[in-house]
Subunit: 227 residues, 2 copies
């Protein structure tokens, strides 16, 4: 009916309900009408609180980013900070895999996503990494995290054994069992990648930064040029 005595909707209530709907039924299940129905309301009412549907999804995405640990860059050496951040970043996204495609488009204007980028970049530069490299490392970690949270690698394989019988796939005889080991495969692959990347970066760090943490500035452009 018309304006109620007590407001039925809050930004926060909309965000929470949307997140719940996304988690339980997937991104496609979130229509303005369905979300509104879940809230006991009528669709267009959402537009009193958000300019459009995308803004709702943005708010959900930013909410999720709040669970990521970025304090570690102030308290740990950079390799450990990358480890802690990377794991909490992945855990936050993997808990809500259905919005990862939306989230992975970048921080955009989401304040918490920007704060995360700021902490990572700042921490790496403070540790002595050249700015362009710090950018690369941040990007690379996002690749790993988003790629791993985007969709389960293991679940991507159909669990119907018949598919893999074809002689075209001589090595996939056991692939139908992957889905059952989803968690182990995805987690294990991420950990393997995280450790490999950090180990590889430590070698690069020695080469590039060497022993001196405070390098004379001006030798490395802040604009990420490479030619």
């Amino acid at each position: 009916m018309p304006r109620p005595r007590q407001a039925l909707l809050t930004r926060q209530r909309i965000i929470d309900t949307a997140a719940e709907l996304i988690d339980t039924e997937g991104l496609d299940a979130v229509s303005t009408r369905r979300l509104a129905a879940q809230l006991g309301v009528r669709g267009p009412s959402l537009y009193n609180h958000f300019p459009n549907k995308d803004a709702i999804l943005d708010a959900v995405a930013d909410e999720i980013t709040a669970d990521v640990d970025i304090g570690c860059f102030a308290t740990h050496e950079w390799p450990d900070a990358l480890r802690v951040w990377g794991r909490s970043y992945r855990a936050a996204l993997a808990a809500h895999p259905h919005i990862v495609p939306h989230l992975a488009r970048g921080p955009g204007r989401r304040p918490r996503a920007l704060a995360m980028a700021d902490a990572v970049y700042g921490g790496l530069v403070r540790a002595g990494w050249p700015p362009a490299r710090a950018t690369h490392i941040g990007a690379l970690m996002r690749y790993l995290v988003a790629g791993s949270a985007l969709g389960s690698f293991a679940r991507g394989f159909a669990s119907d054994p018949a598919i893999y019988i074809s002689s075209d796939y001589p090595h996939l005889g056991q692939a139908h069992r992957l889905a059952a080991h989803q968690h182990e495969v995805d987690e294990g692959a991420f950990e393997l990648g995280l450790e490999a990347v950090i180990r590889g970066l430590q070698i690069t760090y020695e080469e590039v930064v060497g022993g001196a943490h405070h390098r004379p500035h001006g030798t490395e452009s802040s604009a990420p040029t490479r030619r």
Copy 2:
């Protein structure tokens, strides 16, 4: 118009036109009616050739997978094979970034994607990697490639400088310039990650496989536990 003397549609023509539409206008622009219009036809006619829209997108995704070099696993040592495969995999996806979210859900039943998984897994196992590790490496590479092709890291930052002025983001003063260096940043981050991963894996390889390529089985659990 009833059945024409010469068929207006072909599976291949639909795939090609859909790919073109995706590349030029994005995934959202692909509706059955728009795609049909581009083909000089009326929407429902597509359903004579594909069971639903998703099958069309699947076919486009598989077409793109055809450009990936998987022969390298037969001709190169595993570290070089990973390099060649990874680069061509990423190049194929980055050429069509708009379908990556669709593609990244896994091989499903797409034959070329399955053939790729088969070649990678087979190649790594033949090189001496334990099966569980081979699975992890394949997953890990997909994370890196899909994460990097999914959406440009650099383009994810708004190019409006005003956003980054806030004192909440003390290190992002130059972030608005990222978009201009998109290609360099994305490419550089991927290369950094690829090399770091391979270097890290080579260390693991020495530890796990050692000099002997044929290790007695049973010493390595298939579950990648770390505690």
